[in-house]
Amino acid sequence: MNVVSLFILPIFVVGVVLYGFFHHVDIYESFLKGAKEGIVMTFHIAPAVVAMVFATNLFLHSNFIAWFFQFLNPVFQFLHVPMEILPMALVRPISGTASLAILNSILITYGPDSFMGRLASTLQGCTDTTIYVLALYFGSVHIKKTGHALGVGLFADLVGILASFLLVSVFFGV
């Protein structure tokens, strides 16, 4: 199954380039235009990234999570998952940059090709900032009563977390 993953990116790239070429797009100029936007975007997100890495560094360094969620220790030991995944899962629905900062620190600590590294990477990729998106979209049209949107959104995130755990275990082994 890992072989499938290897093919997605190259096929996507060659597909886009050929599709663009045969639809008479000036592919080289388009690429340069987009790459320039990418550079601008990187600088655009720089302040937020520095701010969040600074704050999450302090938070993770303090070992607060391990202390506060001691009672969950047996669960995590049973699953063979380090507890550092918890703050990431908790923060993911609110701030993409904060969870990115935690993901980065997990990748540094455990390595990107470890079980923990793959699990955290999958988590970051598989859901969006649910609470932030709901606030932005409902706020834009002045909706006050949001029905079951938040509850179901967070439920879906939880399913995503569990699915990530199972999928990474099955695909890569523990």
């Binding site: 388009s30 890495v53 938070f59 980065n104 990729g125 900032t129 979209y137 049209v141 995503g160 699915a163």
Partner: protein, 193 residues
């Protein structure tokens, strides 16, 4: 909201470290924070720039429109309360297509347009309609085919195969979207009774 998280991280981080006697480490953690942040940014930048270029080609070639036309018939089933020619359906399709292709900044304007156009036909303007709720559940489940930032980050940390998590991400996304839509459908049916 983000202010609360940011402030809490700093406050808890520093106060708990002092309280539990880890004062020495906290000094270096404060001073290293900014350089760690810059390092993270610089390690991600090459892939982000490259990917923006590739996706610009896709955009200029009209892949986004093509993709949104592809998902439209499926959407019709998910949003029974919207008419077939409702402009909201088109916006929803474009939003989902842009999200799936990882064009986050292109997705948001479509999404806001979709909300606006659903709000126009809303009999109770302060209460969310069924289709709004379904749309946002689909949106927040985050259907992304290629999670670029994650791949960029993994590459920056020297992964042997940065893109190996694509398939697990896509499948996990699919599970969470499906679960969300099922629960949404179930709750709506129960309300009608």
């Amino acid at each position: 909201m983000v202010s609360i998280i940011w402030g809490a991280f700093i406050a808890i981080g520093i106060l708990f470290s002092i309280g539990s006697g880890q004062v020495e480490g906290i000094n270096s953690a404060i001073l290293k924070g900014a350089s760690d942040g810059m390092e993270l940014l610089l390690s991600m930048m090459p892939v982000l720039v490259l990917w923006s270029g590739i996706m610009k080609i896709a955009e200029d070639a009209g892949i986004l429109q093509k993709f949104s036309r592809l998902v439209q018939p499926l959407l019709h089933k998910l949003f029974p309360s919207l008419q077939k020619d409702d402009p909201a359906l088109g916006y929803i399709a474009s939003n989902i297509a842009a999200n799936a292709l990882g064009l986050g900044s292109a997705a948001t304007p479509f999404g806001l347009k979709a909300m606006e156009s659903m709000q126009k036909k809303n009999p109770h303007p302060s209460v969310a309609t069924d289709s709004m709720v379904t749309f946002l559940i689909l949106n927040t489940a985050g259907v992304t085919i290629i999670p670029t930032t994650v791949i960029a980050l993994r590459m920056g940390q020297g992964s042997a195969n940065p893109s190996e998590i694509i398939l697990t991400s896509v499948l996990a996304t699919f599970c969470s979207s499906f679960a969300g839509l099922c629960l949404d459908w179930f709750l709506r049916k129960r309300k009608q009774r």
